[in-house]
Amino acid sequence: MRRDRIIFETVRTTLTILIALLIGYVILLFATDKANEAFKWFLLGPLSTKRRIVELLNRTTPLIFTGLAVSVVFQAEIFNIGAEGQLFFGAVAATFAALYFPHIKFLQIILVMLFAMAAGGAWAAVPAYMKAKWNASELVSSLMMNYVAFFFGLYLVNYHMRDVNAGALVSYRFPRTAWLPRMLRRYNLHPGILIAIGFALLVWFFLYRTKYGYELRMVGKNKEFARFSGIKVENVVIYSQIISGMIAGLAGAIELMGLYKRFVWQMTPGYGFDGIIVALLARNNPLMVIPAALFISYLRTGSYVMGRMTGIAPEIVVMLQAIMILLITAEAFLAFWKRRMIEKSAMSREE
């Protein structure tokens, strides 16, 4: 039965991706008369040069983090979709720590990360506490918190940390002690991807090999059962969201220290919402988050390469993502096939 389910989910995911790509191709046919060329750039572009491969990997990093953050809360059946705001606020906190904490080699990188994690965790704690205490819908409150994080963060950066000499609305440049080191000489590949993979392993271990992870998963599988068994459900509701917020906050710090070396966002980068689709694709399994994030990053990078080479708007990839979310979350999609599989295996057991 377990194997059947894995086969079923794999087929369903693959089919979903193929359908989404097919629809993408049809849309391209309407958008341009060079659809084949555009589609080729879209599919193969990310691997066409070393620079683009680096771009692909760097873009994967935040998606792994947010995918993990979302997976943690989703495993507890908590629909905190505040990763976006937690990441943004974490990035603002990282900017503060990078600019004003003592500029000590290595140590400052660690401190910036910890500070960003604390900020992301604190941000997530607000809807978490409101849920545990007053049963406020975390879906609504975490979404609202995203806006608060965005405007409050922009206020802090633009009014207190803005580099007036820069040509754009950005913060002061970080000191070198708050830069992540380069891993390649000619390309800016930063070690964020390694940290992200490390975190995926860590989150897996947490969920499947620790007491707290067990509690969290049982609350997700059946809250009443967890309470009945003597698990403090309210605690789980709170700490799962805080852990999730910390991971998202860390993503913000790594993105700035690795790629931009300063705060550059005047719009939310969208990684938090991309994390939801990563978690959906990965079925909330931390280890599967890595390939899922790589895949989404591949689509993104492909769309940008296509945009640069052919002038077609890279936003097309957003449509593909939407189609995938629809098909994956639609329980009934391919349900007839699943039912037949169950019936066949059940009847063969009877004989």
């Binding site: 067990y214 059946n222 009945f228 003597g230 169950i342 059940a346």
Partner: protein, 517 residues
């Protein structure tokens, strides 16, 4: 003429359980036909298919000898099939007449208002025709269960039912109410109504049916005229072996008082006072049975005792310590085990593995975990042992609990609660909805647990279970203890029935003896 023909019905549920596996079922017009079988034999599934609630995976249905496709209860009603469910589907705040005509209300003033007089008239007319009198103008809420059932039957009749399905109609009735129901049903059959009666109580089946169809493990074992078979023969067909009806219960050796409940009262959220000054004591090594028709405060009592419901007044002393108001988290740590009424809603996480379900109350301590980390090997080791000890049918401790049959699922719950090293075990309907083999197994285990020195509070709607297992018995009626029996010799289901119905009650001094003071 045949009213119902169900030919070679197969039903596989989405969780892979095969509920019906080639069932054949035929009912003649105007007969009372019983469908019997153990819990889980597929009776209810077959009837859900007939009433259009479930779709068969395979098979053919004919109603009055015409092939039909029943895709919803709406279709079923159109074909003249009515069903009275085990759990009533009535709106408590509406009157009897309003409930009965719901969805087909007579109107006046060009369809803008309901013609209440007409509705009452309609109801009275049908009630009179079939000899099922009801108080048409009264609100349903406070009516006795027997009347509510009659309302359900009238609901079906007024919609033109010619075939009436009754799903374990006597489960919620006292013996006295059952008698009344049977008179009414025989009357209906005389008037040409076809009645399908689902039950696993053989004495009732013998009394009321013309013919009997026996199901076992989703298959038809045969159809018999009632005079051609004995109860013993039917039970052998149902179970596939001779049932051991007697469970050996050596005399209890009660020890110290483990639980002392004093003056426990509770108002539910809707303001109804569901517990009124309940007092009793429970010693280690004995089983105290709580009998009563469902909904007389037993559920609330259990939830308060196990830390799942709050706001009660009075006192609960466990091992000499006041524990009223503590949560399940605290009480589990004070050695309270709990087999809940509903294994799917509370007792288990059906999407988690057997192993994960077995450790849910002890995952945090040795040998299953250290300060932070779980020890999966120890967990699996324990799960394998429990699977063997409680003969849970599965090929791996990693199987999802939702894949197990009801009986095996319950064994997982029972395995956890029986091995938790508790002082107090609250067993709420421990054998509801499971097959006879598992039932016997669980009941024997409860005796074993008692003899190991655990204090057992047994709440059950199954009087046979109460009488088989309990050393002492209290009967609850409308939130009060109305009967107390300090030993269980010579008691019959009928005796308890009078107290459950509120017809008889012990005087307060005798009830106080339940507290052993």
């Amino acid at each position: 003429m045949k009213a119902v023909q169900m030919i070679n019905i197969v039903k596989v549920y989405p969780n892979g359980i095969v509920a019906n596996n080639g069932v054949n079922f035929e009912v003649e017009v105007g007969e009372i036909h019983s469908l019997v079988g153990e819990n889980g034999a597929g009776k209810t599934t077959l009837m859900k298919i007939l009433f259009g609630i479930e779709q068969p995976t395979q098979g053919e249905i004919r109603i009055f000898e015409k092939p039909v496709h029943i895709s919803s209860p709406h279709d079923a009603i159109r074909l003249g099939i009515g069903m009275v469910h085990q759990h009533f589907m009535l709106v408590p705040s509406l009157t009897v007449a309003e409930n009965i005509v719901l969805g087909m209300e007579p109107t006046k003033a060009w369809g803008t208002t309901i013609d209440m007089d007409k509705a009452v008239e309609m109801v009275n007319e049908v009630a009179e025709k079939y000899g099922l009198p009801v108080p048409a103008k009264e609100v349903v809420l406070d009516l006795p269960v027997g009347i509510k059932q009659r309302i359900e039957i009238l609901k079906a009749l007024i919609r033109g039912a010619k075939i009436l399905i009754l799903d374990e109609p006597t489960a919620v009735l006292t013996p006295q109410e059952t008698e009344e129901l049977f008179v009414a049903l025989k009357n209906l059959a005389k008037k040409g109504m076809t009645i399908i009666f689902i039950s696993h109580k053989l004495n009732e089946v013998k009394e009321i049916s013309d013919r009997i169809t026996v199901l076992r493990d989703g298959k038809t074992m045969g159809t018999y005229r009632v005079e051609d078979v004995t109860e013993e023969e039917i039970s052998r067909l149902m179970v596939g072996r001779d049932v051991e009806l007697v469970i050996d219960r050596p005399p209890a050796k009660p020890g110290r008082v483990v639980l002392q409940v004093k003056d426990l009262s509770y108002y539910r959220e809707d303001g109804v006072r569901v517990l009124k000054g309940v007092s009793f004591s429970l010693r280690s090594g004995e089983i105290l049975g709580v009998a009563g028709v469902e909904g007389n405060g037993q559920r609330e009592l259990v939830e308060i005792l196990t830390g799942l419901r709050f706001g009660a007044t009075g006192s609960i002393v466990l091992n000499g310590e006041e524990v009223l108001g503590l949560t399940a988290y605290d009480l589990r740590r004070k050695k309270v085990a709990h087999i809940p009424e509903d294994r799917i809603e509370k007792g288990a996480a059906v999407k988690a593995s057997i192993a994960e379900n077995l450790i849910s109350d002890r995952y945090y301590k040795r040998p299953f975990s250290g300060k932070l980390v779980l020890f999966p090997k120890k967990v699996i080791e324990f799960a394998k042992k429990a699977i063997k000890m409680f003969s849970i049918k599965t090929d791996s401790p990693l199987t999802e609990v939702g894949m197990l049959s009801g009986g095996n699922m319950q064994k997982v719950v029972v395995a956890r609660e029986f091995t938790s090293g508790a002082d107090l075990l609250v067993a709420d309907q421990p054998t509801r909805g499971i097959d006879v083999g598992s039932t016997e197994f669980v009941r024997k285990k409860i005796i074993e647990v008692r003899d190991s020195g655990v204090a057992v509070l047994l709440v059950s709607a199954d009087l046979q279970e109460i009488l088989q297992l309990s050393d002492r018995i209290i009967v609850m009626y409308k939130g009060e203890i109305v009967g107390y029996f300090d030993k269980n010799e010579g008691l019959t289901e009928e005796d308890l029935g009078y107290y459950m119905l509120g017809v008889k009650r012990h005087d307060p001094d005798r009830v106080k003896e339940a507290a052993l003071l």
